[in-house]
């Protein structure tokens, strides 16, 4: 190709890129700005008018908590059973969700599925499980089962099953099928092939994802408490929405919950690091 030709081609490319890039930026900025203005407009208070009050609530909370700091340990202790309930909700939901997600992912992976025709069904199923917000399932189940931890467990487990179904099936796609075929050749059943041929390969990845999920689910179970599904979120919401007068309790519960989340994050982070990078020698 002659230099002139290359030059024209490249200049054309630059022009196109500038037009597309410029357009993309203009569209994006327009979306952000108009979106912000729209939201600002639809909000009761405006962004600029409210900005100076942004710390008011926290200030009231902190002031009261500081005044009654002697109450904090007592409130914390009182919230421990609720915290344990929240942790149990998260742990049980993660366990059940990850087991169900494993089943879904196996059903959704071509080449491993017991019933290959159902692969698309399993995929759509995990998409739908993933798409339904936990709060929806929880609220419907509260109507049927009454309040308490079980609706929360089911709600989180369903969502976890969907999310893990997808993540795990991505792991499964990369599985080495040779051992599976080796087991098939000796007359192993489907469960034997999966358990002995697939699970050992994917277990570290599964575990790492499940730990990450546990962190997310602790948060989720605290949130579901907010809508009446028990646990520490429920206590926190009651204290916070009572307002002035119970802010010390709110602060105590919040600190407890926050500390728990940080601790679990750290532990699971370390465990995941070990899973992906091997144990320190």
């Amino acid at each position: 190709m002659a230099l002139a030709e290359i030059r024209d081609d490249y200049l054309g490319l630059v022009r196109r890129r500038r037009i597309y890039g410029g357009l993309l930026i203009v569209v994006f900025v327009a979306m952000m700005v108009s979106g912000f203005r729209l939201a600002d407009d639809r909000n009761a208070g405006g962004f600029w008018q409210g900005l100076h009050q942004i710390g008011d609530f926290s200030a009231a909370l902190v002031t009261e908590a500081a005044q009654k700091w002697t109450n904090l340990p007592g409130h914390m202790l009182a919230a421990v059973p609720a915290l344990i309930e929240t942790l149990n909700i998260a742990l049980v939901a993660t366990l059940i969700g990850c087991l169900a997600g494993t089943a879904l992912s196996l059903a959704a992976t071509r080449g491993l599925a017991r019933w290959p025709r159902l692969v698309p069904v399993a995929r759509r199923l995990s998409d739908i499980f993933r798409a339904i917000p936990e709060i929806v399932i929880a609220l419907v189940l509260i109507f049927i089962l009454g309040g308490g931890p079980v609706p929360a467990v089911i709600a989180i487990a369903v969502h976890t099953a969907g999310a893990m179904g997808k993540l795990f099936s991505e792991v499964n796609e990369n599985v080495d099928l040779k051992p599976v075929e080796g087991l098939a050749s000796v007359g192993a059943t489907w469960s034997q092939r999966i358990w002995l041929g697939v699970i050992p390969q994917v277990a570290p990845n599964y575990l790492s994802y499940s730990l990450l999920r546990l962190e997310i689910n602790i948060r989720a179970s605290a949130i579901l408490g907010f809508v009446g599904a028990g646990g520490i979120g429920y206590e926190l919401r009651n204290a916070m929405t009572f307002g002035q007068g119970k802010f010390d309790q709110a602060a105590a519960i919040f600190l407890l919950l926050f500390a728990t989340i940080v601790v679990v994050d750290q532990i699971s982070g370390l465990a995941r690091h070990r899973l992906t990078h091997g144990a320190p020698a």
Binding site: G182, V186, G187, A188, W195, P200, Q201
Partner: protein
């Protein structure tokens, strides 16, 4: 004992195995040769049941194993051991467990999944490993072994099955010449000492000549040669491989260096 009649397998409209028929009586060492794509692997997989046959019969002692499904098919597989080019072991599990997988079909799923192997099975697996000279490796993970050792573990798994037929799909193609010889010698020993039928896909003529009692040549899914190793002349080989006149078998040889002289002599005689 083994009677294959018009065994055919279509993939789409293409026949990978095309009306193959042959009979094998007694514990022969049968080699199947043919160039890449000839249908050797498919044929073996059909015998084992990994790939269902489109039509035709595979009679073993009078029973058609090609029509079996479900538990019956798995029961047949448990008597028909398969050895793969890439060994197909479970890499993260130890050697003994891999050998024990040979009897998965005869123990309950729960028992095997929970690793509840009877002591007698474990001892038998060890004995087989010992016979193949790799008992020392028993507690190691399969992935930690060399290729030749892994293939011997695969053979041990096959022996664990106590099979009537051992099918070996290019068992030495991923091995260096040194290991290749050990593996072929092992297979031959099983064939001779235990009297088990071995059918092996091989991609080198010299190996076929040295170890087989009978050689079947396949081309485009059909059997184009069926005879004694001694009948495998260069012309026949050219025919099987569809090669032109400058076909040079040493290009595909995996014989270990010390043996080349013997081979070269043999080849020279045959090609003369």
């Amino acid at each position: 004992m083994l009677d294959i009649r018009n065994a055919t397998r279509l993939f789409g409209s293409k026949a990978a195995v095309d009306a193959v028929s042959f009979r094998v009586e007694g514990p022969a060492f049968v080699g199947i040769i043919g160039r890449s794509g000839a249908g050797k692997s498919t044929l073996l997989r059909m015998m084992n049941g990994l790939t269902p046959a489109t039509s035709g019969q595979i009679l073993v002692e009078g029973r058609d194993v090609a029509v079996l499904t479900g538990a019956a098919a798995r029961e047949w597989q448990s008597h028909c051991a398969m050895i793969f080019q890439q060994f197909n072991l479970v890499p993260r599990m130890d050697v003994v467990s891999n050998v024990l997988h040979g009897i998965l079909n005869r123990r309950s799923t729960l028992q095997t999944v929970l690793n509840l192997w009877p002591r007698a099975d474990i001892l038998r697996a060890l004995a087989i490993l010992d016979r193949l000279g790799i008992a020392e490796q028993a507690p190691k993970r399969a992935e930690a072994l060399s290729g030749g050792q892994q293939q011997r573990v695969a053979i041990a798994r096959a022996l664990m099955q106590d099979p009537r037929i051992i099918l070996a799909d290019e068992p030495i193609a991923s091995l260096d010449p040194m290991n290749a010889q050990i593996v072929m010698d092992t297979l031959k020993r099983i064939n001779v000492e235990d009297g088990r039928m071995v059918i092996a896909n091989l991609h080198t003529l010299d190996t076929a000549r040295r170890y087989c009692d009978r050689v079947i040549g396949m081309r485009d899914g059909r059997v184009v040669f069926d005879g004694l190793p001694g009948q495998l002349t260069t012309g026949v080989a050219r025919d099987i491989y569809g090669a032109d006149a400058d076909f040079n078998e040493s290009a595909t040889s995996t014989a270990i260096p010390t043996d080349t002289s013997a081979d070269a002599e043999y080849a020279a005689r045959m090609l003369a």
